[in-house]
C-alpha cells in the first residue's frame, strides 16, 4: 500500500508577519519555518497505518522553496520512508500546488492508495489543496477529519463541521483525507529516527519537471499589508474589590450606549 502525505512548510505561529518592500508577499528572510501544524496529524495518521501494516510505504511530498527541508526531514524522522520535494516559490497558489503534488505523485511511479494532508496551511489559509488534488486525481475526499478508521479498503472518516457536529463518511480507497487537530497525537521524532532520516531518499524536482508553469496560476495576490491598527480602547482597573461592581456596570452600559452592540 502506498500512502502519500502532503506537507507544507510555513512560518511558525509566533512569527510576527511583515509585508515585503513591494507588497508582493511577506518578508521571509528572518522567518522560522515549521511543518504546517495540521500536516503533523496527517503524517501521524499515515504512520499509524504503517505500524499496523508493515507493507505500507509512506512518502511525504512538499512543494516549496528549498531553503531548508525541515518539514520533510521531520516527517522522515517521525517514520516516513521517503520524500519528494518540488522546488517552488513559497507564494504559489493552491491550484499550482495541487497540480505540482499530482505531478510529483504521478512521477514517483507509485499508485496512491491513500493521500493525507492537513486541512489547511496556516500561511495562506485557503483550505483548497486537498479538494483540488482529489478532483485532479479523480478521487473522493473527506476534509477536516477528526476521526479515522480503516478496515481493508474501507475508510470511516469523521468530518467536523459547524459547532463541533460530526459528519461520518464511508469511503473506499483510494481517497484523499484532510486532517484536523484532534485526529491523533503526533509523535516526536526520536534521536535514532533523526539520524536515520538523513539517509532516507529525498527526490527533488523543479516545477517544470512535474508539469507546472506560470500559466497554472489561478489566484494573484498583491498589496500585502498589515491590518489597520485599532485606536486605543478604554482600560479600567478593577483589581480593587470595592470598585468592581461600578466598573463592570459602566462597561456593560458603554456596550449599549457607545458601542451600540447589546
Amino acid at each position: 500500500m502506498n500512502i502519500f502525505v502532503c506537507v507544507k512548510q510555513v512560518p511558525d505561529t509566533e512569527t510576527k508577519v511583515t509585508p515585503n518592500a513591494d507588497g508582493s508577499f511577506i518578508e521571509t528572510s528572518s522567518i522560522k519555518w515549521i511543518m504546517n501544524p495540521y500536516d503533523e496529524f496527517a503524517v501521524e495518521q499515515a504512520l499509524l497505518i504503517k505500524q499496523a501494516n508493515a507493507a505500507a510505504n509512506v512518502t511525504v511530498v512538499r512543494v516549496g522553496s528549498v531553503k531548508d527541508t525541515e518539514a520533510l526531514r521531520t516527517a522522515m524522522a517521525m517514520g516516513a520512508d521517503d520524500a519528494i520535494l518540488v522546488e517552488a516559490n513559497d507564494n504559489l497558489d493552491s491550484y499550482s500546488i495541487a497540480k505540482a503534488l499530482k505531478g510529483a505523485i504521478d512521477k514517483s511511479g507509485k499508485k496512491a492508495d491513500l493521500i493525507f494532508a492537513g486541512k489547511q496551511a496556516i500561511d495562506d489559509d485557503c483550505l483548497q489543496v486537498p479538494q483540488i488534488l482529489a478532483q485532479m486525481m479523480e478521487m473522493p475526499s473527506v476534509a477536516v477529519v477528526v476521526g479515522f478508521e480503516m478496515n481493508g479498503t474501507t475508510v470511516k472518516a469523521k468530518r467536523e463541521v459547524e459547532g463541533g457536529a460530526l459528519e461520518v463518511y464511508e469511503v473506499n480507497t483510494p481517497c484523499v483525507i484532510a486532517c484536523n487537530k484532534g485526529l491523533n497525537t503526533p509523535r516526536y521524532a526520536s534521536l535514532p529516527g533523526i539520524m536515520k532520516a538523513k539517509k532516507k531518499p529525498l527526490a527533488q524536482h523543479s516545477l517544470a519537471d512535474v508539469g507546472v508553469t506560470d500559466a497554472d496560476r489561478r489566484v494573484k495576490y498583491s498589496g500585502f499589508a498589515l491590518p489597520p491598527e485599532k485606536p486605543a480602547g478604554k482600560k479600567f482597573d478593577a483589581m480593587d474589590a470595592t470598585k468592581q461592581a461600578e466598573i463592570v456596570a459602566q462597561v456593560v452600559s458603554l456596550l449599549r450606549t457607545e458601542a451600540k452592540i447589546i
Binding site: T15, G23, I122, G163, E170, R218, F224, L226, F236, I262
Partner: protein, 319 residues
C-alpha cells in the same frame, strides 16, 4: 456585465445570513442556487436582498451534503447557465465544496474573502492571510467561471438592499457518482451557532484553570446569546474542545462582540479575533497584549468580574 451565481445553504430551512451579505454587496445582480426545496418566505427574503432568480436544484441523493454529489449537480447547472462568477459563504460546506467545484472547471477560487468589489464586472477581493496577521488583495485569473467564498459576518448586512425579481424555478439535478457519502451525523453537544457565524463570542484562556470553570462563561453566554470559545492554551490544556479554539490553528472569527476572559493575547490568538467589531478583555495582568486590541479592558479576575457582568447584562436585557 457578469453573470453571477450565489450558492446558498440553509439551516433548518432558512437561508444562511452570509448569503444575504453577499447578495447585498452584489446589489441585485445575481441569481441564487439552493439544494432542494426552499419555502416561499425564504425566496421572498432572497428577492428582497437582490436575487433575480432562485434555482432550486432537486434530484436523488442531494438531501445530504457530499463533496461529489454537490459538485456534480452544481457544475452541470453552472455550465448550463454559463455563469462567470460563483459565490458562496466560507462555511464548513462552502470551504469544502467550492475548491472542488472550481477544480472541475480547472478554475481559480479566492477563499474566505472579507470584502470585494465587482468594478466593471471583474472581481477584486481582500482576504486575510496568516490568520489575519496580514491582508492582501486577491484577483482571479485563468478560465471562468471564477469562484469566491466570503467569510460570514465580514461584509455585514446591507442597510438598504436592492431588491431582485426573485423568480423561483425547479432545476432537475443529477448527483452522479458519490463515493464519499455521509452515513451518520453526530450532533454537537451544544446547539449554539458556530464560532465562525456567531454574533457574540465569549472566550476563555489558560486562566480558566479547568473545563468545569467554563460554566461561568456558559452562564453569561446564555444571557446574551453568545457562543463560547477558547484560546489554544485552554484547548491544549484540555479545558475545551478544539472546535472551540479561536486563533491561527483554530477558527478565525469576526463577531460583533468578542469577550476575552483570562486570555493573555498570544499573537496567534490576536490574529484570529482582531477583526471583531468590539472587543472586551478581562485579565489580571494589566500588561497583557490582549489589552492592546481591546475597546474595553477590565483589569481584574475573571472569576469575580464575569458573574457581575452576567448580572449586569441580565438587568440591561430585562431578563
Amino acid at each position: 456585465m457578469s453573470n453571477v451565481l450565489v450558492f446558498t445553504e440553509t439551516n433548518d430551512g432558512k437561508v444562511k445570513p452570509v448569503t444575504l451579505e453577499i447578495l447585498g454587496k452584489l446589489a441585485g445582480k445575481a441569481d441564487v442556487a439552493v439544494m432542494g426545496d426552499l419555502a416561499a418566505d425564504q425566496v421572498e427574503l432572497l428577492a428582497k436582498y437582490g436575487a433575480q432568480a432562485v434555482h432550486k436544484l432537486k434530484g436523488a441523493n442531494l438531501d445530504k451534503y457530499s463533496p461529489e454529489g454537490y459538485s456534480n449537480a452544481l457544475s452541470a447547472f453552472i455550465k448550463s447557465k454559463s455563469y462567470d462568477y460563483v459565490f458562496a459563504g466560507a462555511t464548513s460546506t462552502g470551504k469544502d465544496l467550492i475548491p472542488r467545484l472550481a477544480a472541475v472547471f480547472g478554475a481559480g477560487c479566492a477563499s474566505d474573502c472579507t470584502n470585494f468589489t465587482m468594478d466593471g464586472g471583474t472581481f477584486a477581493g481582500t482576504r486575510p492571510l496568516f490568520a489575519g496577521k496580514c491582508l492582501a488583495k486577491v484577483e482571479l485569473t485563468g478560465p471562468k467561471p471564477h469562484f469566491v467564498t466570503v467569510r460570514p459576518n465580514a461584509l455585514g448586512m446591507p442597510q438598504t438592499p436592492t431588491a431582485g425579481a426573485g423568480a423561483a424555478a425547479d432545476v432537475a439535478a443529477d448527483a452522479g457518482q458519490i463515493r464519499a457519502a455521509i452515513k451518520e451525523i453526530i450532533k454537537a453537544a451544544s446547539a449554539k451557532v458556530d464560532l465562525t457565524e456567531a454574533n457574540i463570542i465569549i472566550s476563555g484562556g489558560r486562566a480558566m484553570k479547568n473545563a468545569e470553570n467554563f460554566k461561568v462563561l456558559n452562564e453569561m453566554a446564555d444571557v446574551i446569546g453568545a457562543t463560547v470559545g477558547a484560546s489554544r492554551a485552554a484547548v491544549d490544556s484540555g479545558f475545551a474542545a478544539h472546535s472551540m479554539q479561536v486563533g491561527q490553528t483554530g477558527k478565525t472569527v469576526s463577531p460583533s462582540l468578542y469577550i476575552a476572559c483570562g486570555i493573555s493575547g498570544a499573537i496567534q490568538h490576536l490574529a484570529g479575533m482582531r477583526t471583531s467589531k468590539v472587543i472586551v478583555a478581562i485579565n489580571t495582568d494589566p500588561d497583557a497584549p490582549i489589552f492592546t486590541k481591546a475597546d474595553y479592558g477590565i483589569v481584574g479576575d475573571l472569576f469575580t468580574i464575569v458573574p457581575i457582568m452576567t448580572q449586569e447584562f441580565k438587568k440591561l436585557l430585562g431578563k
